[in-house]
Amino acid sequence: MSPQATPNRAPPAPKKGAEPRGPRAPLGERLAAWRDQHFYGLFSSLGRLAARPWSTGLTVLVLGFALALPLLFWLVFDNARELSGGLREAREVTAFLKPGLDARSAEACADELRRRADVAAVLLRTPEQGLAEFRQLSGFGEALDALQGNPLPSVLVVTPREATDVDEPPLVAALRADTRVDLVQYDAAWRRKLSGILHFGERVVAVVAALLALATLLVIGNTVRMDIQARSAEISVMQMIGASNGFVRRPFLYAGLWYGLLGAAFALLIVVAVELALAEPIGRLVDSYAHRFALHGIGLDAVAALVGASVLLGWCGAWIVTARHLAAGRPA
């Protein structure tokens, strides 16, 4: 016991011998070691998941549903938006003229309208054109042949100069007041409602997606937390023999990543299954729209977004719980 004997010994020469322990190894070797440690984390975590197929499977199922739901909502919404896109553009006012009106009067009526300042264009559809179009679209060709005369009126398709949000613009009022006009069709109010519904739908999808993303985070976090508890003895051994926080945390982060990846894969499976199940009735519905609109399924960008988000959520969930555990398990 000589308390004053050591203070001024040679400055710390901590490494005895030329052992390549610590940060003195050449760069290539350190990179290889770094790679080895990551491979270890990647595959040891995967092996652990595979060792408990039941609990892993259940977790993946829950994740799959949580991820698939917003994706399906989004698909429905996206298609609905596309469908409505064509309608929103249609801001024409359609005026059906009185059935008895002859072609010349109809032409005169169209000319009057063309002279108005708030009218961009007027298209006159004669009863003959209307019949031909109807024959083509409806498939009632033979039935129409049986008709003796043409029951269709002349139609004026009036394009206003500016789109307006007023329910009843002066143009529409004027058309309604015109005695030659039988019926005016103008759907501004309805289109505004549709636009409102779509906006609402967009928000609903966003909120649902956010909630379910949070659920995904919690499910993965909780699963990893239980995993940590089951292995707390192992973690304490690792810490006692010098494992850094990063080393201890890595397998759990990779586990979170795997959960995210598997969950995303299962979610895609669900989405594809739902698409297949609904393909037939939707196909019929689309046909009834006479191909003005094509249904689209989930695209590559959506798949990439799903997988990316899911992996990120898994990683973050695992990071949060390991950080908590590591902070609790160390002396100051």
Partner: protein
């Protein structure tokens, strides 16, 4: 290698585990810490491995004041210490080889170097043939040897062991202690907590005796005539 200067440790429960403890262990020395249970043996080892911090006083290990080792530096500090536990603390979900390789994996040693060193360590404890076995398939004595192989595989300058023979019969205990003595003979500092007085007597090494947290005796064996 290890120096305690007036070290006291009081746990938050109010228990005084160590009181004004001062001693020094030279590099390459082998020493035992003994005393009744609760005398502070484990606390002393925990202060060395930074599992605990002293309430007062200064602990120096390998020329480094531990008070200056920050939280982030603790893993690096522990890599310089080979630790052996009473219940060996092997990981039962992997092979003997992987257990021994763990400190090297943590330190980032290359794979070929790791294999070489693991086999050398297993050879030293006489269990080279069991590298593929599960720790569960081994006897208690063998498990403790694997624990020792894990402690020495990174060639740390210091080995500390907390009751490493606590679960072993006298014959096995002596074998294990002789194994530790071999490392001491090649320049590694060895500090072992044990309450097995008969065993300590046979080993003829330095013994620090603790009683209620105070150092009551520091026995040095008589220098043998060469």
């Amino acid at each position: 290698m290890i120096r305690f200067d007036n070290v006291s440790k009081r746990y938050t429960t109010g228990l005084d585990a160590l009181t004004e403890l001062s001693f020094e262990i030279e590099a390459g020395e082998m020493a035992f810490v003994t005393g009744h249970s609760g005398a502070g043996k484990s606390t002393l080892l925990k202060l060395v491995s930074l599992a605990e911090r002293p309430t007062r006083g200064q602990v120096t290990v390998n020329h480094r004041e531990l008070a200056r080792v920050r939280r982030r530096g603790i893993p690096q500090h522990r890599r310089g210490i080979g630790m052996v536990f009473q219940d060996h603390r092997l990981l039962t979900d992997r092979s003997v080889f992987d257990n021994v390789a763990l400190p090297l994996l943590i330190a980032g040693t290359s794979r070929t170097e790791t294999a070489k060193r693991v086999r050398a360590a297993l050879d030293k404890v006489g269990l080279l043939a069991r590298e593929k076995a599960s720790p569960l398939a081994l006897s208690t004595g063998e498990q403790q040897r694997i624990g020792i192989a894990r402690a020495i595989v990174a060639k740390p300058p210091l080995i500390i062991a907390d009751e490493p023979t606590g679960n072993l019969d006298p014959q096995l205990s002596l074998e294990i202690m002789n194994l530790f003595a071999e490392f001491g003979a090649v320049g590694t500092t060895v500090l072992i907590a044990s309450h097995d007085l008969l065993l300590l007597k046979r080993m003829q090494k330095r013994v620090l005796v603790l009683d209620h947290g105070r150092l009551v005796d520091d026995y040095h064996p008589p220098v043998k005539a060469a």
